[in-house]
């Protein structure tokens, strides 16, 4: 899959580029509107990550150019401006999602996956991982053909873990994903532990393997094996 990252802060651009390259994606980068236009004219991208504040103007202006030059695409706006107006404008103009900086790479990954599923580029609404099958449309999970019933938060958690497998997910990242981050409050992260415990129990009852490991009090990691 081809991704275009339009982001003027090189440190962020590089981190995202390295992450998506490690996922075997082809990544192009642009640090300003001018470079982005060049790239858009000669390439077709499935995903475009668009920063709004660019040195040579408002990134939202690029949306019309994207629409002219690209065929199948999803636009995800990245912005340090958690401005409601920008968000509404962006979504009105045709962006698909909006992520406020700072964000967790795992959250970005999860959003891109959701975007791809929504766009249905490869007619894939089922994510398969070893014996686990996750149907994202019906919100159903099968362990070796056995349907296990998860609450919506457990489903959200499992999907997040599977999509970000082989990655250390901090408790903060999981909490933000499950709750959103408008909250001036996380008393403690016990609720994550509770949800993980319940999820493990349900998978275990269906004779599924436990791929989840606790990492040094930091968070969790879902291993492939």
């Amino acid at each position: 899959m081809k991704i275009l990252i339009i982001e003027d802060v090189i440190a962020l651009q590089t981190t995202m580029k390295e992450f998506f390259e490690s996922k075997k994606h082809i990544v192009f980068t642009a640090s300003n509107k001018f470079e982005a236009e060049d790239s858009l004219l000669v390439n077709q991208f499935e995903i475009i990550l668009l920063d709004i504040t660019l040195p040579d103007g408002n990134g939202l202006d690029l949306i019309s150019i994207i629409k002219e030059t690209q065929k199948n695409f999803g636009i995800l706006i990245l912005s340090a401006k958690n401005s409601i107006d920008d968000k509404i404008n962006g979504l009105d103009l045709g962006a698909d999602d909006y992520l406020t900086k700072p964000f967790h790479i795992a959250e970005l990954n999860s959003r891109i996956n959701a975007l791809l599923r929504r766009k249905n580029f490869n007619n894939q609404d089922v994510i398969e991982f070893n014996e686990i099958k996750i149907n994202t449309t019906d919100q159903e999970v099968f362990i070796a053909e056995i349907n296990i019933h998860l609450t919506s938060k457990e489903f959200q958690l499992l999907l997040y873990l599977v999509i970000n497998k082989e990655r250390v997910l901090t408790k903060e990242s999981i909490a933000d994903h499950l709750l959103g981050n408008h909250i001036d409050y996380i008393d403690n992260y016990d609720f994550i532990y509770t949800h993980i415990k319940n999820l493990r129990k349900k998978i275990e009852q269906a004779n599924g393997k436990d791929y989840l490991k606790t990492i040094h009090g930091i968070g969790y990691k879902y291993f492939s094996k």
Binding site: V9, A11, L12, T15, M16, E18, F19, A80, K81, N82, S83, I84, D85, K87, T100, K101, P102, F103, H104, I105, A106, S152, K153, R167, V168, T170, E172, S173, L178, L179, G180, N181, H182, I183, D184, Y185, I186, D187, N188, D190, F191, I192, T194, H195, I215, H216, G217, I218
Partner: protein
């Protein structure tokens, strides 16, 4: 004390002093004029008697006014005038008289002549002067009171109108201070100074708000780099010690970022222009937010109960409404006891959020909405400030009622 009352008071004090001095002056002047006039009259009378005696040596006496007697004295005495008291049979008391006494030789005979004139008693004169002055004083006070009342209503009207406008003026709204024009120099100058001052303060205030917002934006980018890079380093195997250090750095940066985000939200709420908003049913938003917060509610085993008697509708931006509700609810969860409760009562014009308290400590209603006031150190303490700010921009009011065991936040239209 009103300025006019103050000046009235000064004026009246001055009036009392002036009137007392003038009473003394009037009294002594009157006294001496009366005396001079009386003495003149007595001398005239004496002259007339002498003339009469020359023609007709018949002795006339009308006591106590006039007493003419032949005398054994053989020297003329020039007339001498003094005050005397003479018993009056009619009034039955000693009355003051001015008396002229002289001895004159008329037609080779010596006569003693006494002419008297009744005078006003000093105390009577004093009383007359005093009561006159007092009447003048009373009339002046009444007149002053009436005139000032009229003046203060008329002349001071623009002043009081402007004071009220100043009281209502707020830098938060993008309004200009409009003062009532006045042709009185002092008020005109005051208005001018106030207008200059408020324009300057407004500018400074806006600049400060914009600075806060811009600074917060600028802080988010480096924080993103810090967080993202630590997150990437955490992906690699580290020593136990490094994990601890990296994670605590990550947590600190995350906390800073959360704090900054809340400050940014507050600044944005303050700076936001009025936008078109939707008519929303807050009850629906509450249901959605309860669902999204259920992991936190479940882990504390809090029972939550929502009762509707009507629909609470409001013209509000959807995202702002969500932030409002999520902050009120998460506050109710945060300060709740394990196995506690949250009760919501939704009516047409109010929503009551009641929760059991974690401790019996009474919360200071004045302080609770201040920034960085917080019950425990895990939150950034801006949640209630955000709630209050949203209420202000959305024309809602929020208030608190509490007992030892529960606290209620009341949201009202």
């Amino acid at each position: 004390m009103k300025l006019i009352d103050k000046s009235n008071k000064q004026f009246l004090l001055l009036l009392i002093v002036l009137l007392s001095i003038s009473s003394v002056v009037i009294f002594s002047l009157l006294n001496s004029y009366i005396k001079a006039e009386l003495d003149e009259k007595l001398r005239n009378d004496e002259w007339r008697i002498i003339q009469k005696l020359k023609l007709n040596p018949h002795i006339i006496s009308i006591s106590p006014i006039l007493e003419v007697n032949t005398t054994s004295e053989s020297i003329e005495r020039i007339s001498e005038i003094k005050n005397v008291k003479i018993y009056d049979f009619i009034e039955k008391e000693n009355e003051p008289y001015r008396e002229l006494v002289s001895v004159k030789k008329i037609n080779e005979k010596f006569y003693s002549i006494k002419v008297r004139q009744s005078t006003i008693e000093n105390k009577d004169l004093l009383f007359a002067v005093g009561s006159t002055i007092f009447t003048v004083f009373a009339v002046l006070v009444v007149a002053l009171f009436l005139i000032n009342n009229r003046l203060s209503r008329k002349l001071w009207k623009p002043f009081y109108t402007n004071i009220n406008r100043l009281k209502l003026f707020s830098f938060d709204e993008n309004s200009k201070l409009e003062l009532v024009k006045s042709d009185i120099d002092e008020f005109y100058q005051l208005n001018q100074s106030l207008e200059v001052l408020t324009v300057k303060l407004s500018k400074d205030y806006i600049a400060l708000k914009e600075f806060t917002e811009n600074a917060s934006h600028e802080i988010q980018t480096p924080l993103s780099i810090v967080l993202m890079n630590i997150d990437e380093v955490l992906q690699h195997e580290q020593t136990e010690d490094n994990y601890t250090k990296l994670y605590s750095a990550f947590q600190a940066a995350k906390r800073l970022s959360n704090l900054n985000e809340k400050l940014l939200l507050l600044a944005r709420l303050e700076n936001s222009q009025k936008r078109e908003v939707d008519r929303l049913n807050l009850g629906e938003i509450i249901q959605l937010q309860i669902k999204s917060l259920c992991p936190l509610i479940d882990v504390k085993e809090i029972s939550i109960n929502v009762s509707y008697s009507d629909v609470f509708e409001l013209n509000i931006d959807k995202e702002i409404a969500e932030i409002l509700i999520v902050n009120i609810l998460s506050n109710a969860i945060k300060h709740n006891s394990v196995k506690g409760f949250i009760t919501l009562v939704i009516t047409k014009n109010s929503i009551h959020f009641t929760n059991s308290k974690a401790s019996e400590k009474m919360i200071n209603e004045e302080e609770i909405f201040h920034r960085f006031k917080k019950g425990n150190s895990d939150s950034v303490g801006l949640g209630l400030s955000i709630i209050q700010k949203i209420c202000i921009v959305s024309q809602l009011t929020i208030s608190i009622e509490q007992t030892d065991s529960e606290i209620t936040f009341i949201l009202k239209k």
